[in-house]
Amino acid sequence: MPADFGPCFGVPSPAVTDLARTQRLIGSTQLVTGALLLAGIWLALPARYWPIDLAGSALAALCVVSGAGMLARRAWGARLARISSWITLGLGLLLTTALASTIAHLAGSYGPVGAGGAALMGTIALLVLPYLVGLPLLQLAWLRRAE
């Protein structure tokens, strides 16, 4: 029997096991990302600013729903995960641009931002980039492989 013929007598083939594992992985990551985003926006942010609150919450909801869909092995789960990964990546890149242009603005008006400013922005970037740029890139690669 060919290896990719599918489950036979209740024993999953290696390809199916891989696929299921990838789906579980992406689904769980999406759920954790959604929860982290919600906690970050509603608990950690010191001020309410509706563009961030609204967009962030919508993205978090998308992550949670797509995560649930992936874990439930629904076809729409993968589609939503791909959409949310692209949106997250887009937001991450936008945020990185915003941080970089903030540094550019402060450097323009205050002069050299200095070691303190650079350390602060670097820390923010390090906190943000893995979740909003690195993770969606990884998820897009996983999803493509899972196809």
Partner: protein, 613 residues
């Protein structure tokens, strides 16, 4: 790995980001036109002054005639407020002459007793000096874009002390200068969880000031006016900050004026004015009168008496100690244990320790039986609060007659210093033993954790205690307390600004980033410690030159920022404010301990220099 589509997206994003940053940088950067020559500046101020005196204007120097800037703004101040203004055009000479004509024709300005008069029959000369009209000139050196809609970044958009705001509406121009922003307390507007880290400008109030000048509502300015930042070049009759070398004579003068400031603002009953607002002249404590700071200030007065021979400072210190004895002294756990009662029926370690330090300093200069009895009783209390591991319990519940084993910032270090400082006058070995065990805890087990070499607390009192131990005990190289304090001071040196690291003249200050104005007390407290440790380091033949450079750089900053006379045009009464030390370069408020820490730092360095530093 990302596919080609993702790679293309990333490449386009990187290019766009780079381009955006370049555009943002170029728009934020305001050009800075050169300032007029010193002669042209002197001429401009003298010409403005002649609006009051009525004397004919002098001929401008040759280079003034050719000087141009985007705009020249003349302000007439009295008692910390702007009475009249003139925003002139690009040519300095024309703008100054136009301002002079406008001020000379201003009946309200001319009617001021202090407009051009040095004496008036029947008018108190001090009152006349207080009413003096002071002219300043602000050169608009160039404009930059103002961010208005992004929270926080818009508050940071205006560089404190350097930039103001310019608005244009229907052909009318309005300027709010950095000094006006300071006088209206609009800097350090955004409060962070750490009180000392407030930052940014209050743009709403700044827009109100622009609207007042334009004669419209703030909403009109927000909706229709073109508002920009402008880089301001201040031309003042007396430069501030004023450059000063930290020589012994200069430091003694500054410390003396600081002590005189405190005595001038002391109440009859022996309390100090907790907060003095230099702009309004108001004294307040906001219900927050602080006993450790009362005692710390008393310590400085006693120190000033000892080192500067100021009997009036000793009298002030004694008055302040008698206030504590009369109003706050209590017994904590025994007849012989004296403590200082604070809020909520509690006696705290900080108040007792600093009162003991002040009492010991008074006794170093001369005997006083009441003060000696106070000191002995306070030390009994401090010793009784020690735990078996050396740490102290910091609160005592007077109603329950029980110590409470919690620790608060500063208190243990203050207590260790009190025990050691008192040894010189009491010679009681029990105090030395308590201090030894406490310091072993503070600089050893109390500060031993992963990362302790990269993170430090507020240890200026602890390290003053270590310095005192170095003087009294047989301290050797490699002593753990000494090593700890040298590491702590080296850590502070990393945070110390050098020239050109911030937009402000704050070389020598200690700060955490270029958008936050440094605080003076942070600098003063580190300098107190470094100055006190310096002789110990020299005695042990360790390299003391980094400490000396650190201290002199910090003292230079403190001397530049103290009020001598300070930003006189923004002060309601410069004579009353003389010797004050503000909280930050953008503040006109003086708290009693700001003066105490700065003054003590200066005197400790004077003492080190006298000892052969």
């Amino acid at each position: 790995m990302p596919n080609d589509r993702v790679r293309r997206v990333l490449a386009v994003w990187a290019l766009l980001t780079l381009l955006t940053c370049a555009i943002v940088y170029a728009r934020a950067r305001a050009p800075r036109a050169a300032m007029p020559s010193a002669a042209a500046q002197r001429w401009a101020l003298a010409t403005l002054q002649s609006a009051c005196t009525g004397q004919p204007a002098q001929k401008p120097p040759a280079d003034a005639a050719s000087y141009r800037a985007p705009a020249v703004i003349a302000l007439a101040w009295s008692q910390g407020r702007v009475l009249a203004r003139h925003a002139g055009g690009a040519r300095l000479v024309e703008a100054v002459h136009a301002a002079r004509a406008r001020f000379a024709a201003d009946p309200e300005l001319r009617a001021r007793a202090g407009c051009g008069r040095s004496s008036l029959p029947g008018v108190d000369p001090a009152e006349l000096a207080r009413d003096q009209v002071r002219f300043t000139l602000v050169i608009d050196r160039g404009h930059g874009v103002l961010i208005r809609r992004i929270p926080l970044l818009s508050n940071l958009s205006v560089v404190p002390l350097i930039e103001g705001l310019h608005a244009e509406l229907d052909g009318k121009h309005a300027y709010v200068t950095p000094d006006e922003l300071v006088a209206h307390r609009l800097f350090d507007h955004v409060v962070t969880p750490i009180p000392d880290l407030s930052l940014g400008v209050d743009l709403d109030r700044a827009f109100e000031l622009l609207a007042e000048q334009l004669g419209v509502a703030r909403e009109q300015v927000e909706a229709r006016a073109s508002v920009e930042r402008f880089v301001a070049g201040n031309v003042l009759p007396q430069p501030y900050p004023r450059e000063a070398r930290p020589s012994a004579a200069e430091l003694e003068r500054a410390a003396r004026q600081g002590a005189e400031f405190l005595l001038r603002h002391m109440y009859e009953d022996g309390r100090y004015a907790y907060l003095y607002d230099g702009n309004t002249g108001e004294r307040s404590d906001g219900g927050m009168y602080n006993l450790p700071r009362h005692a710390g200030t008393t310590y400085f007065l006693a120190q000033a008496d000892r080192l500067l021979d100021m009997p009036e400072a000793r009298q002030g210190a004694l008055r302040a100690l008698r206030w504590i004895i009369r109003e706050r002294l209590s017994r904590c756990g025994g007849e012989e244990r004296l403590c200082v009662q604070g809020r909520g029926g509690m006696a705290d370690m900080g108040s007792a320790a600093l009162t003991a330090i002040a009492a010991a300093e008074v006794l170093r200069r001369g005997e006083d039986p009441v003060v000696r009895k106070l000191l002995v009783g306070l030390l009994e209390f401090i010793r009784s609060m020690q735990r078996p591991d050396g740490e102290l319990m910091h609160l005592y519940d007077l109603a329950a007659e029980q110590p409470i084993d919690i620790q608060k910032m500063y208190y243990s270090g203050e207590a260790a210093y009190a025990l050691l400082r008192s040894h010189e006058v009491l010679r009681d070995p029990r105090n030395l033993e308590t201090a030894r065990r406490l310091m072993k805890h503070l600089t050893g087990a109390g500060w031993s954790f992963f990362g302790s070499r990269y993170f430090y607390g507020e240890e200026h009192w602890t390290c003053q205690a270590v310095s005192q131990a170095g003087r009294l005990l047989d301290m050797k190289r490699g002593d753990p307390g000494l090593d700890f304090c040298l590491r702590w001071l080296a850590f502070q040196r990393v945070l110390q600004y050098g020239p050109g690291q911030t937009p402000w003249s704050v070389s020598g200050a200690i700060g955490v980033g270029p958008v936050i104005l440094p605080r003076l007390t942070t600098v003063s407290s580190r300098t107190e410690t470094a100055a006190m440790l310096y002789p110990v380091v020299r005695k042990l033949r360790l390299d003391a030159s980094p400490l000396a450079e650190q201290v002199e750089s910090s003292l230079g900053f403190l001397l530049r920022m103290r009020w001598a006379p300070g930003p006189a045009h923004m002060l309601i009464n410069p004579a009353e404010a003389l010797g004050g030390v503000p909280g930050s370069p953008a503040s006109l408020e003086v708290r009693n301990d700001f003066v105490q820490h700065a003054g003590s730092a200066m005197l400790l360095w004077v003492e080190a220099l006298r000892e052969g530093g």
